[in-house]
Every structure is written in structure tokens, then in C-alpha cells.
Amino acid sequence: MENKAYIRGQKELREEVHDTGLCTGCGACVNLCPYYATSRDKTVVKDLCDRTAGRCYAFCPRTPTDLEAIRQQLFEPQDLTPELGAVKGFYLTRASDPDTRSLAQHGGTVTTLMSLALSEGIIDTALLAEGGGSDLPSGVAVSQASEVSKLAKSKFIAAPMVEAFNKAVLSDAQKIGVVATPCQTLALAKMKMKPFPKNDSQIGKLRLTIGLFCGWVLSWRSFKQLLDQKIDQRKIVSLDIPPSKYKTMQVETNSGLVEIPLDEVEACVREACKFCTDVTAEFSDISVGSARLPDGWEVAKGWNQVIVRTTAGEALMQLAKDRRVLEFREVPGGNLDKLKQASLKKKRTALDNLACKSGDRDDLLYLDCRDPVFQTFDW
């Protein structure tokens, strides 16, 4: 069989990704050249390019990808788990600073780690998502630690962070940190494989990837239409989805809490998310999500679950501990297993969906059915 990680051009990217509902809108193909743009939550082709091999195709997280080769290159073999990728450490944390916590979606861990990386000079530029909800989010570059906490809410609509990265590498930024969704961390990981040795898009400037746990994101246009029916959007303060047993999306507004049934929200999920096998952003240095605690949601939502995956991630966590900017609490027994089960569930669903889409269990479109991880569970 052909190696899965071949490179083609824009025509194939359009045919295999953009036109098939696989595009995640991550922006990996944007800002490399003038032919693509992100607009209104979509990656659009502005002009046709006739190159038979392009970075757009090579970096896209939905073109054929050899996940195992990436795991082998980026992580230490002993850390790898089939369910969650590399795990060097698993923690429950929150920001020590109550102000950071109050501005953040949950425990404020991402804000804290990014601020720390900036203030310690590990990175000079942090790429974060701005906007969200019914507004179109976008990636912004921040160079001051104090600016990070202003951008600390869950978006539910993915900002094209890889587009922001492609832009940032052209700027004066030398050491870049990115907060990204799983598909976006995969795009960045594909860049790290340097499939275009002559023109590697300066991936060496990427020093830190903080991945966000992600079950799915919403399609902006559908979600905006849903919100239009329910709420005066100018009043929205924040959005959150508590654990699945609540079956709602909670919208905090100036005039109180509005709950939207989760079924209605899930109808707005981006098509591409059905084909994603990664809930914990396996290709990052550190992955962060909301916590699950026996104490219930009201307590849990003040904390984060954190997976440290690389030595760079490990060093940053250690620094956070040493500087006391993060508080840690004991991880309850079973938490990691629960997360593994959640991760496997998403993998199974995605593989089923891919096989269904291709009509052949041996053809997983952008993934390789021979991937060793996919041999470890039934689907």
C-alpha cells in the first residue's frame, strides 16, 4: 500500500477536503500563499492554483496522514497510550490567581501557562482565540502576559489558529506559543514533520502548543441562526456546556441564564468534527480540558484536567509549580480511565463515520486503517 503521507496540490485538497465536509477550518492552508482565506468560519479558495504539490495539502490535518510516524517523531515511546496519545503526567489544576480564574472559562490553567511562557521568555508571542459565541472568532497574537487573560473564554466556534500561526511566522515573532484545538495541533504536528524540506514554513519558531480538549465545535452560521431564535445576542456574557447528563448549553446573559437543549446545539456541529478521532489534542505539548470531580459540576467547573505530553510541556508545568502560579489537587481515582473511555468513544465514532463515508472499512480517507492505535479497540 502507498504511504499515507503523500503530497498533492490544491485541486486534490478541494476535492478531498473542502468539498467533502472534512475541512476543519483550522487555517493550515491559509497565509502560506494568496490562494486561500478564512471567511465566516470557512476556509475558502479565492483562486485556483495548478501546483501538483503544495504545502496546503501537506499541512492539512484532513489530508492523508501517518499518525504513527508523527507519534514516533514527536513523543517518547514509553509515554504513548493508545487512548490518549503521549502521557507524561495527568493533573488537576487551576490558576492560583483568583482574578485569572474569574475571567477564565474553567480553572484558568491555559491562561496561566501561556502568561507564564510569555513572562519567562519561553515564547515571545502567544496565539490565542478572540471572539466566539455568535461572533466570528479569530486568532490574535499577544506578546504581553497581562493580555492573555482577556482572551480566556471557550469559543465553541473554532478560530483558525493555524492561519494565525502562518501569519505570525512571517512577523518578527521568533518563539511562538499556540493554543489550539486537536485538529489544529495535528496540522502543526504535520508541519513539524517538514514534508516540504525546501520550504518548511519556519515551523522551528513553534515552541509551545497547548491543546484544548474538544468534543466538537459548532458551525458559526448554523449556531448564529439558532441563537438568533433564542436570545438577543448583544446580551451574551458567556457560553458553557456542563457534563453531558445536563443535556443543555448554558448561556449566561445580562438578564440571566438561558438554557438551550443540547440536541439543538448539536445539530449545529461542524460536519468535519464527525470525522475527528482526537478529543484530547494528542499532538500538543500540554492538553487542557474541563475537570470532572466527584464533588459535582459546580466545583469541577473551577478546575482543569491537564495532560502533559512532551519534555517541553513537562518543563513548563514544573515551572508553573515552582512559581506557584498553578494550584494542584489530587486526581481522583478513575478520572484517567474515564477520560480514556471518552477518548475511545470519539475514536470509534469517527472511524465508523469515516468508513461509512468511504463505504469501505479499509479506506479511512485521511487516516490509515493500519494505524497501530486503531488495532487496539473494536470499532
Binding site: L32, C33, P34, Y35, A37, S39, D41, D50, N199
Partner: protein, 644 residues
Amino acid sequence: MADISNKTEGLADLLLGSEAIGRGALEGGVNVVASYPGNPSTEITEAIRQVAEKMNIYVEWSVNEKVAVETAAAASFAGLRGLSAMKQNGLNVALDFVSGISTSGSNGGLVLVVCDDPSGITSTSEQDSRPLARSLDFPLLEPGTFQEAKDMTRFGLELSEKIGRMVLFRSATRLQHARGRTLLGSLPEEKRKAHFDTSKQYVAFPSLPRHVEAKERMAQAKELCKDSAFNVYEGPENPDLLIITCGSCYLYALDAMNLLGLWDRVGILKIGTVWPLPDDLIKTHMAKNSRILVLEEVEPFLEGNLKELAVEWAADVSMPTFFGRRTGPLSDTGELNPDIIITALTEILELTYEARPPAYDQQAKAMVEKLVPPRSLALCAGCPHRASYWAIKNAEVLDTRDGFVTGDIGCYSFGLFPSGYSIMKTEQAMGSGPGVGYGFGKLGQFDMQQPVVAVVGDGTFYHGALPALVSAVNNQSNLTLVVLDNGATAMTGFQPHPGTGLDAFGHPAKPVLIEDICKSLGVRVEIIDPYDSEAATQKVLDFMNDEQQGPRVLIMRQQCALQMARSGKLYDVWVDQEKCVGEDCGCNRYCSRAFKCPGIMWDAQAQKARIDEAICVGCGVCAQVCRHEAILLKPLKAVQGKDS
């Protein structure tokens, strides 16, 4: 163009067919000429315009063809002689009035010259206008030579005046644009004054008695044309084959006859008064011939009518075998030429003559391909329409709702082609961009989600877009109308239009501004320079997403690049080849391949882009298109984005 006002009678001049018609109009004492430009008709009015002031002739480029014929008709009603010239598409615009005057009748000599375009070389159709003469009862003249073009125009004015009916005069591309020997006639001394006889009415109602009268006038015309010198037979007394032809096919037939040496076997009956047909003359010749080949452009109008006559005469004339566009061997579409006629003649007469060696076309094509680089139909270097389409294309892509453009006729029709990024998806008639766009804008109740941008040129805005815009206001259609305002009727040669502030002679006229019209309709109207690429894109996007009900009008105003080439470049433009990425991933010749301005070349040796200084007009848009800052600009004069 030639000066057609020479007073020397009998002088042989080499005139374009269109100039010959103009000269014929002068010899026929024309007073008022009102036309709308359109290839291949434009030069008729241009030729007259050049001498009009000294000859006290009123010439205007009217707002559209209907107004043009109405203007010429008013002259006729006032006892003057009038002429109006237009292309076949234009006749359709004028048709409602033309139909009306067919029943109302006219007074002073009135000729409507319609120039058809076989093969549709510069048209959206190869419409044959002649059947209209039959359906609306107009005499129809069709010249076969340059001399006839002149003489028939004069005759048409005289005939019209005698029978009190407008006369149709049909020309076509080849005659219009070729030159031929023409003997000049005298120019009239008579100076007419305009006076309307109020004892008369020129009204189309009641229609039935008016129709009866029209038929009577046609009978009169038939009588007047029965011995016309425009209908000529040349050839042997009893030929093997009779060619019956009219219009420019006559000259092709002569070529074919000469090349094949057929003058002892084949005769040619050339008909100049094509409707009503000279029955007696035709009957005489039909009786002597068992085989008839009909040559005409484009529809089998003559052929069908001849067959009808043959059936009528079946009792006393044996039915000939017909050849032609309906029966074959000629195609029923496309322009004829001498080679096609030679091929038809050799087939019918079983001759061996090769008009061209069998492989001629392939050889010629192969030779041309070596000599000439392949080029597609393209907007000029620096054309503001390209900049506008670039902005509209980008806005539609960024909008993500699968938007498209409805358009119409003008240089901006190139929006159909890759040069205009193929964004124009409908194109039918002058003003149909706004009209069809208006219709799309009313489809919201059927869940139409795609945004529609209608484009229209400035000249066409006045010509045919106003009713659609008024309807869009009245019915609150969700329409984004972009006026591609280059300050000129550029495609036909820079004739003035109501917005230019000039009349046909270049004298000041009162300008009627598009923005003023839009303001008076209460619609949102803004003006933007398409050369300011990003701002233009954002403005189009903003207009497409305007949630206000009803239409909005964005005027993308920048003077025609041909004017710019005359008035001087805005910028010196060059490529810094050090910065140019060329074909590498990250560009892949974006400026020339995606933006497609012909002013940008590919320097094959350096493998980099280069500016073709000879044709670059210095608009500066490509510098905004290049993402690598490799295209550099130096301003050459005060940048006057919103002049014209």
C-alpha cells in the same frame, strides 16, 4: 474615416460600406440622424456626424435604440428626413416603437438601418432581422455592393416618403467593414424646415384599419420597386443553375463564379428590394430554371419565400429543385464566404474544384500556433473592470454563500471569461444584469440564500437598467447593483452617454449622474475606486450583506484604461525579481495566472514575473495583488481615483 461630404458628383471614392450608407443619407437629404452605437452599425452615424455640423444635420447618440428611432420618427412626422442606425440587438430594443410606426405610418423619408452580424462575431446572436419586414409590413432593402449601399439609402428615404412608411435597410458586418468603389451622386440643395401638419395623426390605433392601410402601402411599394435597378440578372439565357441572392452574398457569388468559370452555365439573380419581392421578375427567371441555389445571410428567408411563390405558381411554372440553407447543402447557421459557396456549387454541379486543400485549415492552425502565443479573450491591461471583478470575485468568495453575478453587454461581458474570473453567470441583453438580478432578489420566499450582484456599465445603466432599478425600489428586491462606471461607451468607441456631459460632437451637454438618479430613488448609493482593491472588496461585501430591504447601488468608478493610456500612467510599475517567488509554492505566478492582467508577463529566463511596459497603463492594482511586495510602484502624477 473618410469625409463623405465631397460635392464632386460622379467622383469615384473608396468608401466603407458604412460610409457609403452615410453618403447615401446625405444625398437623400437626411436632416436628423439618431442612433445607438453597436458593431457593425456604429460607423454609419460616425461618418455622418463628422460632416453634420457643416451640413446642418442633427446627430445624436441616443440613450437607447428605441429613443433613437423615436427621435428620427419625430423628424419624419415634422416633414424632415430621418435615419436611425443600430445593430440587430438594438432593433429588438426599438421593436415596440417600430411595431407601432408600422401601423401609424410616417411622413418625411424615414429609414431604419439595421446591421446584422452573421456568425455573431461581435454579438450575442446572429439574428436575421429580415423576417420582421414581412411580419410588420415594412419595405426592406438589402445592398449587395458598396455602390448600392449608398444608392439604396437615398432610394430608401425617397421610397419611404412616397408611401408614408418607414423603410428597413439591412446591412451586415462584411459590407459595413469593407471598402469598395462608390460613385458619388449629388448633394441636395433643398433646406427643409420642420413643421408638423396638425390636420394629420400618426397613431397606431385602431389597428385593423391601419393594418389594411399598411398592406395597401406595401402593394404601392411593390409597384415602385418592380423595375428597380437593384434587382439584376447576369448570366446566360438558359443556365444550368440559377443563383438567387441578396446582400453581401452577391459579391461572394461573383468571386465563386469567376474562380470556377461558370458564367456560361450559371446565372445570378440579385435581389435588392428583398421585401416585398419583385414577383414578376422572379417568376420569369424561375420559369427558365429547374435548379435554384439561394444564397443569403443567415436564415432561409428568401429561400422560404421563393418556395412559397413556387407553390403559388405551380400551375404555370414547373417546380424547380431548390438548394440553400434550408434544403442544403449550405448550413442553416453561420456566415457564408466564397469558399463555402464554391464548395456548394461544385457539389450541385458535380465539379472538381478544391476551394482549399483538404488539410488547409489544420496546416494554417499549426502555422499560427507556432507564430502566435495562445491568448484568450481578455480585458485590456489595467482595465478597471478587471479590478472591479477582482473585488467582486473576492467578496463573493469571502461571503461563502455561493454568490454570483448577473451581467449583460459591454466590455464587462468579459466577466463571462477567465479574464473576468468567469463570475458572470447570466448575460442576455443590455440591462439584463440588473433586470435578472432584480428577479433573483425577489426569490427570498423560495429560500434563495445566495447573494446576487448585478453588474451594469455606465452607458448601459441609462440604456436599459433604469426600469429594473425602479422595480427593485418599488418591489423592494434584495439587489446589489454594481455600476461599472468607466466614464465611456468604451466597447463601441467612446460615444457619449447621458453621464458624460458631452453630446455627439463633443460639445457640453447636461450630465445626468447615476448617483443623482439613485439618490432620487432613495436607494443607498456609494462611489468607490476599484483600483483600491481591498477597500473595494470590503465595500462589495458590505453591500452584499446590507440587511436593509430593497436595492443598493455601488458605483465602481475609474476611467477606461484606454483613456488612461492616452492621458498617462498613474504609476511606474516594475517587479523586484529578488522578491518575486515565481512558480514556487507560496505564489505560483499569482499575478499573471490568477489576476491575469496582460500587462504582467512571465520572464521565462529569470523564472520571475515582469511588467510589460509597452501595455501597462500603470493602474497599480497588481502591486496590491502581490503578497510578496515584489511589484513596486512609483507615482507618476497625482492619483486621481475618482476623476472621469
